[in-house]
Symmetry: C2
Subunit: 732 residues, 2 copies
């Protein structure tokens, strides 16, 4: 175990979709699931490109599974290689996290008894993100004819909410590149296609080269929507035939629609050979890991797993595009359709803020770019300011489904309320914007964008606050907090407190602007109508917002939380489903069981506001009331941090491993749908803010290490105000 | 004009989908829309096979657009022929109704200036219904290389309810037939595929032969899901290259799943040459027309149009399969997804009962086979007996969507109530079963199947009847009648009266059975628990069912119909949308405007029950209250019959032509979605029972001709008790 390789040594058809998820590779422009090149029954082969959405039933819009670059058929003396046929003598797959390369080696015996070793390597170039590369090496046991059919499949399908299969691509054209058309042997092929409803054009180009083995024939099959190069070679016993396949993608999001094919073909012309492409990719990865790597000594599993989680974040992170975000399942599966949630701001952004602030800025700019859509949502609901959508895709409109097919009976529809009333996301985004500023000191961004975002969300919170005349207080009623087991609740502590924070921070930022950027300050005052009366109202809400708590310092999940029924969670064990699935949506709503601990989450976000004793009181109260195993996958990393905060690093370790294993071991049973992005992002926070005890303020940073007993060393790096900082606990 | 040819002489891209609908060809096993072989932007190319349904969002299940046999690309000196490129010098398309052959002749100039005449003929063999045939003849103006690429496209798409594109087919295998694999030049190719959710397997096979022209090369492109034969030929100036393409289909509905590919390949082996295949098809059509043709002299438009409507019925009629029905849009479009409604029993079945009783029997057997599903529906709703679904597909379960996307805003869902409360269909089916018996004298069928169906629907009606203690009467409340502008109405006359008829007919049939088939009678009494008490209840409902009417004999559409608002329909002219679209669903509901005249429909079905004066009274009352132009497409044929009944054959003619033109001239603006099957079927009834004045009883038949003034002759044939009868009015 070298700490960098995720390995699979046996084929297990029952875990096919799980393995596809964890063997996803990507480069922040696109990502491809770990499906087999030659196909496998019921595989979910996807390549998702950031921002390439198309309309879909129920879910409003979804990432459109892009034309498939994996397609490669291998024929051994005329028999088509497939893991579902013949005999698999050995099977090994490795994901090299250091370089983002997925390798599979199969020894296969054909139905007629011919044997070959088939090695396929592939990566999505981090150095040239429009480029994906594959190399197949086939070694036959006896003299054989090897045939390879390399295609771009223009008919990829998506799986819909009721199990239907959706097509998103309308064929426009294909052919050989003009430069190459006189001699097919060296030509590149292109496919030109377009999403049906969003009408995003895509050009893909493919180059296929035999680099070892005597090529005896080369054909081009111009079959519509499946342009295919066919190469045949005669190999002597033990000789290896090697074929390289390079595919490039450009869409009308990248270049003018008229140029997508040309750009894709040009991208291929920049390819010299496999080694050069590989080296450039490896060099780019080296830069990423120098910023992001976490070293854990004394725990091989945790070492590998933390890198796996960081890898999943790195391949999903948009480096060159600030019009996209990271979906709740990254680019690795159909789950949540590529929609972005608060998962980004609260769970993933800290990783990027501290290790790759340029990526964090892209993600925040995405929100800033969609401020007008957030304003429209607020207005449609009768409020001022900016109300961000619970689920967000390309336009910033609310894309939460209002009705979705029931999991139990797909012919029945269930009303989804999060898009209507899970309002805390607007404060979460403001929080992340502020955190970015605190950590980076990027005053320019705050002036240009962040301030407007924080001020306009504050405006929303003031408008949304309801005055309770009887109690003389402001309230936020009929909401859903992060704990989604309870909907239509009143005065969710997390929501109310973070709204208050948003309002106060807006006032602070406005003050700061007045002294640091008076012109901008004046402009925003006019643009957002920040009159003295309005600011007075903000102060009034801040002062009089209802924050439900007991005199002893116990913060209440929401107003009447203690009236809900207590449940002995231990008595429900063993279970393999969530408490909500066990008791039903209505049933769970009536209990005190939490999908995730809102209150502890808030204490983490505003950690300087609470005493250690108060944290401990709330930790002890809420921990046994939380569905840690099958509730929210967002919970464990935060629970880790809070366990560390109350001095229980070994309890923390249990939660940490639950987060680390979420996808690698599919501990929640739903990794088929894609990576749990918030869990993956949260693992870095658990390392830095939990075990490392890192605290960041405008003035500087401190650490307070609280390692699990068996850990020998924990090291990580982060940026503070533009300078990389090194934390190395227990190191030599 | 020869009365047999539907012709199009100009390409009109704006009418593409309309033309695809009317140029649909088929053979009762499958049908293919009139899309162009080489494709056209936004075309809706479909081949639907009866009974091949697969799950789909919102609409529950839909006919799965099958692998496309049309796919044919033609290259002229390397330039791909397409009507959207180069110059179309002339364009002509003809549908030969007599033989079911669609022919297109195009003179085309390529972008580079090469010219060719391209003639493509195709038909779905009525003699060998698993076989479809195509022939392309290309004549180049100068010596040219002609290339043809003939494929089966395994990636056909369906258009979903929200504009999404659905894929229904999972690729399983493809290849050359074993017999042919040693020499590709003469080989056949197969495709093996399966619907994703219903898991119906399909084997398709293709043979491609060049019969004229010097073939210079032939290749097979084994591209996945698009197996393609490529033929090249060098043609001298003016020489014609001819290529024939034969495709066969078998599904696991036809043969064992393991045999679908073998069966498809065998079907091709039965093909000798084009002329033989053509002759066999033409001979089969001759038999059909000998039963079905209607001759109208003095009205060329009506002559052609009636044949067109009959043709659409004939190509949709299942001759060899009694597990399927005819959808409301036949097999000709995505509309209503292939679901069968009462349209079959009331509008289409009379045509078949009288001209092709073997087809009528298949259609009725479909309902009989699904009696258990109807019983389950009744039971789920708390009733005894059999309640047929409003929309029916393969299983007989209710497949009416409960929610569908709004036409105006696809993100909004509209509740559809017809599946819940449009209950008259159970009586409609019983009515059709009885009518079949009356017309055919098929006592065996009545004993074996029809009686059970009529008795069990009666059982439902007795259970569904609500006793109104205050009024001392039975009622059917909260229903939708055939007039769907009014939903949630009480005591719809049509429903109540036909329920009463169903109950009475059940009693009559049981009496008949007792004397003609005492064993069967006894068996049904036991099986259906037809106790004396139950039959007494039936008699009580028959006697006390509420039939809302005025003392003068005006039958009331439903209980409080006269309290709805009167609307001057003439004042709404000119309009191009329905009154419901104009006033909204709720708005139309509050008026007296009818989508179709329920009451007149009932008077037609039970014509011996009403005096001519009473018919006239109701005709005069309801006619001006009906949305004839954009209401139900089911209305005009019935309105024709009733106009004839009241002695107004020229008014009748106006309604008749509206029915005849529904699809040919797209008078309702929605022919894109497929043929209006009920309208098409109704035209024959308008001929026979309207203009012909045919009346059928158990004792015999009479006619009472009422021709439009300008008609010189009307002739048609029908079967009565197994013997073909000839009606020839005005003939020599």
């Amino acid at each position: 175990m070298n700490g960098w390789t995720v390995a699979q040594s046996e084929l297990d058809a029952t875990r096919q979709h799980h393995h596809e998820t964890i063997f996803t590779i990507g480069n922040g422009y696109l990502a491809t699931r770990g499906a087999f090149e030659e196909g496998y029954p019921q595989d979910r082969r996807t390549t998702f490109l950031h921002g390439v959405f198309d309309a879909a039933p129920f879910v409003v819009t979804e990432l459109a599974n892009a034309p498939d670059w994996l397609a490669l058929e291998i024929l051994l003396n005329g028999e088509r290689f497939a893991l579902s046929r013949g005999t698999v003598i050995s099977f090994a797959r490795e994901l090299d996290l250091r370089n983002g390369v997925l390798t599979r080696r199969v020894e296969w015996e054909s139905p007629r008894g011919d044997r070959a070793t088939i090695l396929v390597e592939r990566f999505c170039s981090l150095a040239a993100p429009h480029l994906v590369c594959m190399r197949a090496s086939i070694t036959a046991a006896r003299a054989s004819e090897i045939e390879l059919r390399a295609s771009i499949n223009g008919n990829p399908l998506s799986e819909g909410a009721q199990g239907e299969k959706l097509a998103h691509w309308e064929f426009l054209a294909q052919g050989l590149s003009r430069a190459a058309s006189r001699d097919e042997r060296d030509g590149d092929v292109f496919l030109h296609t377009r999403t049906f409803q969003s009408r995003i054009e895509l050009g893909a180009a493919m180059r296929v080269i035999a680099t070892h083995g005597k090529e005896t024939a080369r054909e081009f099959w111009d079959a519509r929507n499946a342009p295919t190069f066919v190469l045949r070679a005669n190999a002597s016993a033990g000789e290896t035939v090697v074929v390289e396949k390079y595919v490039s993608y450009f869409t009308s999001r990248d270049v003018d629609a008229a140029r997508v094919v040309e750009a894709a073909l040009q991208e291929l012309n920049a390819v010299t050979n496999w080694n050069d492409a590989f080296r450039a990719n490896a060099a780019a990865w080296q830069v990423e890991w120098a910023r992001t790597d976490v070293v854990i000594e004394g725990d091989e599993e945790a070492q590998l797993a933390i890198r796996f989680n960081l890898f999943q974040m790195l391949i999903a992170a948009p480096r060159l595009d600030d019009r996209v975000n990271i979906g709740a399942k990254t680019l690795s599966g159909f789950g949540y359709r590529g929609h972005a949630f608060w998962d980004t701001e609260i769970f993933m952004l800290p990783l990027f803020i501290y290790t790759a602030p340029h990526i964090a800025k892209n993600l925040l700019n995405y929100r800033y770019r969609l401020l007008n859509a957030a304003r429209a949502k607020a207005k449609a609901n009768g409020f001022e300011g900016a109300q961000f959508p619970w689920e967000s895709a390309d336009t910033g409109e609310e894309v939460t489904p209002t009705w979705i097919p029931s999991y139990l009976d797909r012919s029945q529809l269930i009303r989804i309320w999060t898009g209507d009333i899970e309002i805390h996301i607007s404060a979460d985004i403001a929080y992340a914007a502020h955190q970015y500023w605190v950590a980076t000191g990027d005053d320019e961004w705050l002036m240009d964008k962040g301030a407007e975002l924080i001020l306009d969300t504050a405006k929303f919170w003031a408008a949304r606050a309801e005055w309770n005349e009887k109690e003389k207080r402001y309230e936020y009623n009929d909401v859903i907090g992060p704990d989604e087991y309870h909907d239509h609740v009143n005065n969710n502590y997390y929501t109310n407190r973070l709204a208050q924070w948003n309002l106060q921070t807006a006032l602070d930022v406005l003050e700061w602007l007045k002294s640091h950027a008076p012109t901008k300050s004046q402009q925003l005052v006019e643009q957002l109508d920040l009159s003295p009366a309005r600011l007075e109202k903000w102060r009034d809400v801040i002062a009089k917002i209802y924050l439900p708590a007991l005199p002893n310092g116990l913060l209440l999940q929401f107003q009447d939380y203690l009236e809900r029924q207590a449940v002995d969670l231990a008595a429900l064990e063993p279970r393999t489903i969530s408490v909500q699935a066990l008791l039903g949506i209505e049933g769970a709503n009536e209990t005190q069981v939490l999908k995730q601990p809102d209150v502890l989450m808030l204490m983490y976000l505003l950690q300087n506001e609470f005493s250690r004793d108060q944290v401990r009181l709330n930790y002890d109260f809420y921990t046994p009331r939380t569905d840690h195993t099958y509730g929210s996958s967002l919970g464990p990393s935060i629970q880790t941090i809070m366990a560390c905060a109350v001095g229980k690093p070994d309890d923390a370790y249990e939660h940490f491993m639950r987060a680390l294993r979420a996808d690698l071991y599919d501990v929640r049973g739903n990794a088929d749908d894609g990576i749990h992005a918030a869990s993956a992002g949260g693992t870095w926070q658990a390392i830095a803010f939990g075990f490392g005890g890192l605290r960041i303020t405008r003035e500087g940073w401190t650490i307070e290490p609280r390692l699990p007993q068996h850990w020998k060393r924990l090291a990580f790096r982060f940026f503070y105000h533009g300078e990389q900082q090194v934390v190395d606990i227990g190191g030599e």
